[in-house]
Amino acid sequence: MIILRALLNIDRRIMYGLLCLTIVVMLKWPVKQPLSTTHAVKGVYDAVEAIPHDKIAIVSIVWSSSTMAENGPQTEAIMRHLFKRGIRFAILPWDQQGATLAKDIAEKVSAEMGKTYGVDWCDWGYRPAYLYQILPALAKDIPATIKKDYRGEDVRKLPMMRGVKTIHDVGLVADITPSGTLDAWISQIQGVYKTPIVFAPTLVMVPEAYNPLDAGQIKGMLPGLPGAGQYEQMLNYVGFGQKGSGALSGSFILIIVLIILGNVGLVASRRRRPEDGGGD
């Protein structure tokens, strides 16, 4: 009984150790688990499939190394799909680290799929995250707002940017983010010009996003790492999204087990009280 009651107050350091162990083990020896596709993820897939070939896509990068584990695989999956369909896209980074990290992903995938910088994709370069100030101007005149790509070259000279003038030449915006930038995209772009938006948030932000998703303000959503995993499955390749989802499964199971243990402890301490004559 003492053991059972000890379950009521497990030392947090033990829990932290168990978590570390679970993640390491699950990443090292991944268990193949099936993922089924939810309608939110299918919405992203369909939105990318629906982009007309004469329009470009914008991949908005707000994440940095802190949330790379979740946002990185999402970015890669979306880029792969765009490349696969032959839709030209531009990276629009709002974070200094994210700028480098997303460019690295694009370079890797583009090399793998035989695509060329400037023709199939480009990088508009880092700018400070003043979305509310920049987006209205971007919508009206893209080349004048962006001016130069990350290498300092005039964006007007890039082959893929030919004929791209306003937001009406943009067929999709993918906002990949760990923070509240979606509001800016919705209120300044989608709400005004009806440009389709898909959303790739971190897992903690998911519950809130069902509201705009339901309102049709975003076409689809990749919920964190499992979302990326599902998307990978739809695109038929195995990336960190699927591997990482396994580790996530493990840690969720750990949390559930700990919660159950805590409750066992609670029940045990309740039962014991009368006989103990006021044990605590």
């Binding site: 932290y16 309608h39 700018r127 400070p128 209120s187 509201n211 309102a215 009368p274 004559g277």
Partner: protein
Amino acid sequence: MDAFLQRYSLQIIVWLGALSTLAIFSILYKENAFYRLFEHIFIGLATGQGIFMTVSQVLHPLWWKRMTAEGQWYWVFAFLAGMMFYFVYSRKYAWISRIIFGAFMGFTAGLTFKAFATQYVPQIAASFKPLGGPPSSARPDVTAMTVVYAVSFLVFLLPLVWAAVLGSKAARLKREAGIR
């Protein structure tokens, strides 16, 4: 120095990264001097980088360059407006800083109206859904699912919730009666 940095910078980055990670993780055990040191370094780096970014991304290109190189002399008024904030440190003239604070609050207030109309009104409209109507192709049929769950809830979960409620009530009654 140059050659050294070029040659070893990657190794330095890796080792410093590992050290920083360990320092922060050490707080999971308990607060300690190692963590404290890196906390101060972190704040120092963030402050320094913040100053660098503000100067290189905003103040230099959007203000100084425009005012001097592009000849738009009237940007001097932006500087004057910015300086008004600093009157907050003067007892006597603190009210002058309130003018610029007021302007900023006004802008925020104005934008709130705009956000309400573009962001929330469409969500009000999205709540207009037929009850028990046919499901749309893109979304699951929430109504049908609700019925299924309501039934299963009654069958499986209600006894459990009921027991828990009873349990907590009994515990409270016992507590109130002084039985421990």
